[in-house]
Structure formats: structure tokens, C-alpha cells
């Protein structure tokens, strides 16, 4: 446990120093996106990995957060930064309502319902032109020219999110969540109010995803419904971040977020200009192949199956040493 604390301190220190060492705007940008995905992936993981309610609709909360921030500026006439205050609670509120409707359903049915709700939100944002600006989206002007404020804000969000989830999972709530994931009927028979705790899990998850959305609006200064409410770019990406890193682990989604964002950027920039241009079109294909590979061979993600990976490594090296115990 003590060793782990050192590792965490090292990660935090490294990420605090990163933008001071790497001055390139581009790499700072990539890391900002990765940190944002740490928030989204970890929140998705709280609901899906720990509570067992696989959501295909996290774009709803991301989009709500982003639109709350955007509409603060365009409709309410206040700074879009108010979105950082209002976006989270707004997403949590929507999350509560969606949970109230969708938690009547279980397992795959819940997953399906979240896709449907997500599509409804996307279509409404597209069609309700007078309020949301429709397909034109919302265009603002960035507050800071330097990336540094955004970087530290994203870092703060990511650490806060990980810390809160860590704290929640160590509390009674965490045990209830896992109990519901393992067997909802058994949990209920032991007196766990499954509906209430699933809703709580969803609300916390939606809150942080909404914050990430509000951050995205302020950072990118442009949103449109096809981006922030996108099934593929947000909802599915959140799932990929979770499963590649490892569902039901604290450090899985953060690792997954960095892997996915770096992979995406590597391909989008055609290996930083080293490979022919057509490579840039391959990134979604690579994501797909990665999903298939991970599900087939590392069903619990890189962090969840770390012992398995180590075993494979050491047996290849000829040592055959027993796998180190998982620490979480």
C-alpha cells in the first residue's frame, strides 16, 4: 500500500511538471484531451465497471455539460466558465431523471435504453435550432491563449474525479455498488435498495462527465451536436477507454484514456508525419481491432489482467516466476 502511495505521488508530480518541461502546444493539447478522457472514462467505469450498469449513453452527460456552458454564454449572457459550476449539477439532474426511467430495465435492456435516450438528445440538439443553434453549434472565444491554465484545470478535474471515485468505492456505497453488479437480486434480498444506489452511481458518474463536457466547451470553444452528443465519438469512446484499461479498476480507465488518446493522435497525424497520409484514416479501424483483441485476450483490460500479462512476459523470458499479486 505504501509503495502504491509513492507511485501515485510520482504520477501526480510528473503530471504537474509535464507542461513546464514539454513546452510544445501540440503535446500539451494531447495531454489535456487525455486528462479529459480520464474523467469521462473513470465516471463511466463507476457506473459500468463497479455498479455493472453498462451505459452506451455517456455522451448525454458530456453534451449536457458542454451545452450548459455554451448556453451560459450565448443565452444567459454570462461567462461560459459558469458552466464549470452549473454543468455538473445539470448533468447530474438529467442523470437522475434518466435513471428514474431507465433503471426499471436491467442488463442489456438498460444499455439499449441509454442508446435510445442518447439519440433523442442528439436529435433534439440538432432540431431545436432557436435554442441550441442546431448544426451550427456554439462558437465562443477562448479565454486563455496559453494551454497552461487548461492543462492544470484538466489535471485538477482528473485527480478530483479519481479521488472521489476512490473514496466512494471505499465507503459503504462502494460495497453496495459491487453487490448490485455481482447479483442484484441477492443484494436486494440483503436490504440494499438497488434502485437508489444505481441512481447514486449514475448521478456521480453524470456529474463528472458533465464537468468534462463544460471543460470541453471552454477549452475547444466550439461544439456542435454531432460532436458532443455523438454515439461513436463520446459514448463508445468512453466504453473503449474503460474496457481497454480495465473495467472495475481504479487505474484502468486513466491508463485506457492515455492509450486511446495517444493512439488516436498517432494515427490521426499519420505517426507524426512519418507514415504516408492515408494512415490517418485508419484510426477508427485500429480502435475496432483493438476492441476485438482486448475482449478476446484481455477481457478485464490491461490493469485488470496485469497479472496475466506479467505471467506471459516472464514465461517468455524463461523465468516462469509467479505473477505478482494485483494491487488496487
Amino acid at each position: 500500500m505504501k509503495a502504491l502511495r509513492w507511485q501515485v505521488a510520482a504520477i501526480v508530480a510528473a503530471s504537474l511538471l509535464f507542461p513546464l518541461v514539454v513546452r510544445s502546444d501540440y503535446y500539451q493539447h494531447v495531454f489535456i484531451l487525455a486528462l479529459m478522457w480520464v474523467v469521462i472514462g473513470s465516471s463511466w467505469n463507476l457506473l459500468a465497471g463497479y455498479t455493472g450498469q453498462v451505459s452506451f449513453g455517456h455522451a448525454i452527460f458530456f453534451g449536457i455539460g458542454a451545452y450548459t456552458a455554451g448556453l451560459c454564454a450565448t443565452k444567459a449572457g454570462i461567462s461560459a466558465w459558469w458552466g464549470m459550476v452549473l454543468g455538473g449539477p445539470m448533468a447530474a439532474l438529467i442523470g437522475f431523471v434518466i435513471g428514474w426511467v431507465c433503471f426499471r430495465l436491467r442488463g442489456p435492456y438498460f444499455a439499449l435504453a441509454t442508446i435510445a435516450v442518447g439519440e433523442i438528445f442528439r436529435l433534439v440538439a440538432v432540431v431545436w435550432r432557436s435554442f441550441t443553434g442546431g448544426m451550427q453549434g456554439i462558437l465562443l472565444i477562448q479565454t486563455f491563449r496559453s494551454k497552461l491554465p487548461y492543462y492544470y484545470l484538466a489535471l485538477f478535474l482528473a485527480l478530483a474525479c479519481i479521488y472521489v471515485i476512490h473514496a466512494v468505492m471505499r465507503s459503504k456505497w462502494g460495497y453496495y455498488f459491487v453487490a448490485i453488479r455481482e447479483d442484484q437480486d441477492a443484494a436486494e434480498s440483503m436490504g440494499v435498495n438497488a434502485f437508489r444506489y444505481k441512481s447514486l452511481s449514475l448521478i456521480v458518474s453524470a456529474f463528472f462527465t458533465g464537468l468534462a463536457g463544460a471543460f470541453y466547451m471552454n477549452y475547444m470553444a466550439f461544439i456542435d451536436p454531432e460532436v458532443v452528443f455523438s454515439l461513436h465519438h463520446i459514448s463508445i469512446m468512453a466504453i473503449l477507454v474503460g474496457i481497454i484499461g480495465g473495467v472495475g479498476t481504479l487505474w484502468g480507465p486513466p491508463l485506457g484514456a492515455f492509450i486511446m488518446v495517444l493512439l488516436q493522435e498517432t494515427f490521426r497525424s499519420s505517426f507524426f508525419g512519418l507514415a504516408p497520409r492515408w494512415v490517418s484514416e485508419l484510426h477508427v479501424l485500429v480502435f475496432g481491432l483493438l476492441v476485438i483483441f482486448v475482449i478476446l485476450y484481455l477481457a478485464n483490460g490491461i490493469v485488470g489482467d496485469w497479472g496475466k500479462i506479467q505471467r506471459l512476459w516472464s514465461s517468455k523470458a524463461g523465468g516462469g516466476a509467479p505473477a505478482a499479486g494485483k494491487s488496487s
Binding site: 426499471r104 442488463g107 433523442i120
Partner: protein, 291 residues
């Protein structure tokens, strides 16, 4: 009134094709208990095959059915055999990993199509696509009528197959109770492979029939995957009769929505029905009919 009838007629004709999509999905759902989120993407693959055959060999889209259906059957069987079946043995926290696998398959299929054919819209327009039959003032678009007819024939054929043949009976037995079917000597693994192939072949037929009245681009798959499970949920999971009714209901309500609400919200109509059914009628129309 004429507008209303016309709208309903168009909806019912479309519903025939939707039913075909839904039956494929519901078969897979019934036997494997998974949601096939690559269903629309399989349809898209079949549509590209039809497109290539029409452009390069000048094969009529309806004749192309004889090629696309076997092709997709093989593709579906291979996917089930090598990607989905191995997952049954894998230990994982989330029980949904077969569903996530189909998401991955769907992404790969879409991106492969984009690599080969690029993102631009394609269409297949044999000369008869603009012809219509008239009954009074109501027009019946010819390719839609043909598509509806073929869809009905295929559905009847499928029912005969499921009810009368040994393989069909094994499929139904596996859907009803896998363990019992195993005990009675049904090779459940082979049945799952066969069923996924069959589902893929049915959706391939739907895609090929749809192509002369629709257009084609790689991302079309996702939209139809959504429609497919709206239909299945509407009809009740695993119920083939339900999928037919669900298909027609979706077709008619989309058509009414497009005429009376707004073209842009046409797709939202399906989603709203879907949510209402999930909330107020879980189990779908199957619950009402007891079939």
C-alpha cells in the same frame, strides 16, 4: 385523407423490409441472448456487395440476393465461430462483453467499407425504380412493392424452415432452453453459428432490397442497427412474429412522423416509441399476443 392513406401505405411497405431486419436480429437475440450491435453494419456490407455487382457486372439488385445472402451467411458464421463463441469461455467482470465485441466488429466493418469505397453516397438505380403502380389516387412505388413481396416470401420461407425442418426445430429448441437442447443432443455451438449466419443472411436480403430505394454510405450501418433493436424491443425479444409486427409499426410511425411532424425528427419517432415500449410494455407486443 388521401395523404394519410398514402403515408400509411408507404409505411407498411417499408415495414416489410424493417421486419426482415428485425427477424434476423431477434433470431440472434433469441438463441444467443446477445444484442447484435453489428446488425446494421452487416446490412451495409451486403449493400456494398450489391452495389459492386450492379456497377461492375450489371447484375440486377434482385438477382444479387442470390449472392449477397450466402456471402453474408458465411461472414456471419465466421464471426460467430471465431469471435463471439470463444468469449463464452472467457472470465470477465462485465457480462456484456459479447455485445461490446459486436460493437468492435461493427466499427471494423464500417471502417473497412470507408477505406475501400470512401465516404461518398452511392446508389443503385435500375430503370424501373421510378415507376409506380396506382390504385385510385394512391401510388405504390414499384421497387418498394417488389421489396415488400420478396420480404414476405422470405419470411414465409423462414417460418416453414423453423417449423418444419430438423435444423429449424433445433434453432427454436436452443432459443427456448439451451441446457435442455444440449441434453437432447442438439449441438448448441453449431446452432449458434448457424443462427448468426441466418440472421446475417436475412439482414443482407433487407439491405439488397432496400438499395434501389435508398442510398448507401459506410455510416448507414449504425442507423440501421438502432432501427433493428427498436423493432426487436417493440416486438418482444426473441419473438419472430413480434419482429414482423414491430417492423410494420416502426415503418408506419416513421412514415407518419415524417409527414405530420417533421422530416428531421423522423428518426426520433422510433426512439420515443422504443422508450415508451421499454417503460410501459417491457416484453414488447409479444406480451399482448401471447405468441
Amino acid at each position: 385523407m388521401a395523404v394519410f392513406i398514402q403515408t400509411v401505405v408507404a409505411g407498411i411497405l417499408m415495414g416489410g423490409i424493417y421486419a426482415l431486419i428485425g427477424i434476423g436480429m431477434t433470431l440472434i437475440m433469441g438463441v444467443m441472448k446477445i444484442i447484435n450491435l453489428a446488425h446494421g453494419q452487416l446490412m451495409m456490407v451486403a449493400m456494398y456487395i450489391t452495389y459492386v455487382l450492379y456497377e461492375h457486372v450489371h447484375l440486377d439488385p434482385y438477382a444479387a440476393l442470390l449472392i449477397t445472402m450466402p456471402c453474408l451467411f458465411v461472414l456471419g458464421a465466421v464471426l460467430q465461430r471465431y469471435l463471439l463463441n470463444p468469449l463464452i469461455k472467457v472470465e470477465s467482470i462485465l457480462p456484456e462483453n459479447q455485445v461490446l465485441m459486436t460493437v468492435g466488429i461493427g466499427m471494423v466493418l464500417t471502417e473497412l467499407a470507408r477505406m475501400i469505397f470512401h465516404s461518398d453516397y452511392k446508389s443503385v438505380r435500375p430503370p424501373y425504380t421510378s415507376m409506380s403502380l396506382y390504385a385510385g389516387s394512391i401510388a405504390f412505388n414499384l421497387p418498394m412493392v417488389i421489396a415488400f413481396g420478396i420480404a414476405v416470401l422470405l419470411t414465409i420461407g423462414l417460418f416453414l424452415f423453423l417449423l418444419k425442418t430438423d435444423v429449424g426445430k433445433s434453432v427454436r429448441a436452443t432459443a427456448q432452453n439451451k441446457e435442455a437442447a444440449l441434453l437432447l443432443g442438439v449441438n448448441a455451438e453449431r446452432i449458434t453459428i448457424f443462427t448468426y449466419g441466418l440472421g446475417a443472411a436475412l439482414v443482407a436480403a433487407a439491405g439488397t432490397l432496400l438499395l434501389p430505394i435508398y442510398y448507401l454510405f459506410p455510416d448507414l450501418g449504425g442507423a440501421f442497427t438502432l432501427k433493428a433493436f427498436v423493432i426487436t424491443i417493440l416486438g418482444g425479444l426473441g419473438s419472430t412474429v413480434g419482429a414482423i409486427v414491430g417492423g410494420v409499426v416502426l415503418g408506419v410511425s416513421e412514415s407518419l412522423g415524417a409527414t405530420y411532424i417533421s422530416m428531421a425528427l423522423k428518426d426520433a419517432v422510433g426512439m420515443v416509441i422504443f422508450l415508451l415500449v421499454l417503460i410501459f410494455l417491457p416484453g414488447g407486443l409479444k406480451r399482448l399476443t401471447k405468441i
